[in-house]
Symmetry: none
DNA sequence: TATGAATGAGTCTTCATTCAT
DNA sequence: GATGAATGAAGACTCATTCAT
């Protein structure tokens, strides 16, 4: 669920809300969105209950329809907010001043770590893909959602190649997908994997193991083929 | 949806089937399972409709309850059938007689290709993870579901290390997860990625691109660190 | 509400329904239709409650959707049944053997009397016109709904003209509309008229008065202009 | 919908209206009434939405309750305004100086024409009759609503009878109902009739046809029975 | 074994109306 | 006087499941 207000962190005009936060549209919108985020992430679109969202947000159900129209548009709003948060975090990454290899390692670790602790984005995305991105396509903001990471990766690769520490011919977009994939899949499927392995993949040791494996795989996969000789 | 009857390909006994295929319990079970597979994969557990399964299978709704008890147990049956099919295909992989690098490449390509054309397994797994593997845990067959690929990977790694073409210290289970991840994520998220990239990632060119990228990343990532010198 | 089963008086196959009329689809359909007829006629389409129809028909609400799809199609079915009943009654009119003037009088009286005692057809029609005949247009049976009365009126007019008791130049369709109008309006607006006149227009005396007025107006309106001279 | 403000055309006092037409109670009342007239006429009482009235009138919903109490009393107000307008138009008819036959023809044509172009009165009345005139009975102004036409018809009939051009024994109230009926029914049921006839009864030709038919029927129906001999 | 009717508890959505400012 | 947020009760429609044959 959203940790900040996501896209809705408008400057609480409110009206002081002296008596107890009533009649504060922005707050109401935000509470609905947070509750919907939780519900959709944990139950999926079809399994989510508007009543549950109302209960959780402690907002009258009617307000949900007042502000968001219907369940579907509420889902779109949640998706947008989720993307917003992810993209904002990515934007804050500052890798340009780091050496190529260190930068790449940081990038891989950042991506992996972003999934730890909050799997709601993964759950929302999986659900959205079940619906063939139907809701995402409705979002006008979708164009700005291109990850800034791809550009960063491109820069790191170029610098690394120039410095002779990375091989050439690597497509930044593909690499971005791979870096995301190596972490995403682990967390997306953590319950089935844990069940089949008979081991809790969420514990510290397992996470550390996975993290270092990914770093190793990516960095080694980028080294120049002919070796330093 | 299932291409063969999965676990249910028991010998069609039928009971005279006087008027034309009626009263064939196994066929009925199989038809239900196939329809349920399709419905659950495309709608998720919550979004799936028992009525839709009855319609699609052309079997009376009452029979679904007769054979499978309830929606939940039907989902478990579908999950098992899906795992069965995947594991069967994996079992048929014969890599032992190939050179380590070729074997590894084959393994990566096999895994990637297994997702092309049928994403139902991915969809079922994603859904199952949404429910924290609740249904999978109910399955008694779950212990036998450990992928044979992990053992195969272990063998290839050992042979490659011995031959000096692979570095050491690579955990087969982690590598298996990585190989799966690199393909799985791409297909799992193909709709959202296509939307955001503004490009159809399902077309031949895109698939070929992704496939060779993965092969390159994994094989390069396994080379000995010091180069062959 | 329907006095017989309307269009749905299919030959009760049923299954003996030994225990108490359960599991009798035709009976269920008919009960729903009768209750819907009542509800729609008395509340209008928008004011009608599906729950009320379920309660009144003592049929599970789910069955209404099972048999009729939705509220709108149920309304269409009611409309069709109502037209059916009216048209059936009209068909039974046998005026050909009567003298033209007597036949015309019978026709006028029949039309007027058809409104006495059951205003549901009027109420349904008024409501349907509020919706610009939206539902009627959906009915495939609509073409056969042309009133048989128009043809009968044509015949009577022709015979009367030949016998010199009716003037010529009267369009049968227009006359049919007029005959219907003279009774329909009275009953359609009987509550507002009664309120404004401060008199109960439903009592016997008022009905008799209106009936004879209409007969007089129509028959006098048809007499040849130049008199019998 | 109302073409003038109906009963609410009180002198616009306004209260300075500093910034531009705000705080003008009478204007607000009139806007609400006009919007409600439209909504109730087109959707019926049950189908009408208070929100739609607020939107259409561009007046805050709260004001509707402030000025009219509730939906029901608003409907009463609309009914009164509609009757007011009709009665005002009737009052303006000046037939006393015309010859009886010409006067009667004018009366019939006036009534018919009053329905052309605005069917909202018909729709409101039909709806009100669905509710058994419940709202009309609440209106204190109801006694003054007796149509002035009945008196006029009485006068014309008397003059015609005296002049030997009309037969006697015709009740003015019944005749008024008939004259209204012949036009009202046509327009009230114009959509169902058009659908069943497969012809647009609203076009010029159809209207002219109907108009002259009605005039012919009424005038011929009033001629003395024995002819001028 | 097989069938289709029947059911009660939801599920999304809408409504008239009131509250706080 | 005017505004827009807020509410609880209901409304149409759906679902997994069971019954009767």
């Amino acid at each position: 669920m959203p940790r900040n207000g996501g896209a809705n962190e408008a400057p609480r005009r409110g009206k002081r809300a002296a008596n107890g936060a009533r009649r504060d549209p922005d707050a109401t919108r935000a509470k609905i969105l947070a509750a919907a985020w939780h519900e959709f992430a944990h139950k999926g679109f079809a399994g989510a209950r508007v009543d549950a969202i109302a209960d959780r947000s402690r907002v009258n159900k009617r307000m949900i329809y007042h502000y968001y129209g219907d369940k579907e548009r509420l889902f779109v709003a949640v998706l947008e907010a989720a993307y917003d948060r992810v993209r904002s975090a990515e934007q804050a990454l500052d890798l340009e001043h780091m050496a190529p290899e260190a930068a790449m390692q940081r990038m891989v670790e950042f991506t992996f770590d972003s999934f730890v602790g909050d799997r709601t984005f993964i759950q929302l995305l999986n659900n959205e893909n079940l619906y063939k991105a139907r809701h995402l396509k409705k979002s006008a903001r979708v164009r700005q959602m291109h990850s800034p990471l791809i550009g960063m990766i491109g820069g790191i690769l170029r610098r690394g190649e120039a410095a002779g520490v990375f091989r050439g011919g690597v497509d930044p977009a593909q690499l971005w997908i791979s870096i995301a994939a190596l972490g995403y899949f682990y967390f997306s499927n953590i319950h089935t994997l844990s069940t089949i392995f008979g081991r809790d993949l969420e514990d510290e040791a397992a996470l550390a193991e996975r993290r270092s494996h990914i770093v190793g795989l990516v960095l080694d996969g980028l080294r120049p083929r002919a070796g330093p000789a």
